[in-house]
Symmetry: C2
Subunit: 96 residues, 2 copies
Amino acid sequence: MMVLITYDVNTETPAGKKRLRKVAKQCVNYGRRVQNSVFECILDNAQCIMLKAVLSDIIDKECDSLRFYYLGNKYQTKIEHIGMEKGISADDILIM
Amino acid sequence: MMVLITYDVNTETPAGKKRLRKVAKQCVNYGRRVQNSVFECILDNAQCIMLKAVLSDIIDKECDSLRFYYLGNKYQTKIEHIGMEKGISADDILIM
């Protein structure tokens, strides 16, 4: 299934930047980074549980926000895009 | 239906900040801002077409990215959250 992961983090601090890099590295194992802190991952149930646990350990729950949206298997018709298409690698930090 | 809107914009420039403010103002008419540049909107088809046209006019298509995810009507079970819940008003700019 497609799981959309959105991550809200303060990247003005080196620690925030580092957490975004770590989150991105985990997410791109399962899909792609479509925006600076938005990831489209293809996961089965077991992978989803594991990834949630891993990301939960990376983020700072006091100040970061992580959201998961379950788009199912027929996700191709559920997504539209306007503007620049970004090919962002897991290691990139773009200025938001 | 629930439409998730994610907006990737460089807020290091005053123009980018202004575009994010404008996008947020439009989106929160129809829902809430769950992260700095992530909006959950409840829209019918006509509203959705209109909002897409309005947002399309606001953003800079050369450098911004806007994505729409259609979560349907049974979206309540399709969303999970970890970390800080942000109550972000349309006028706020948080540092990403």
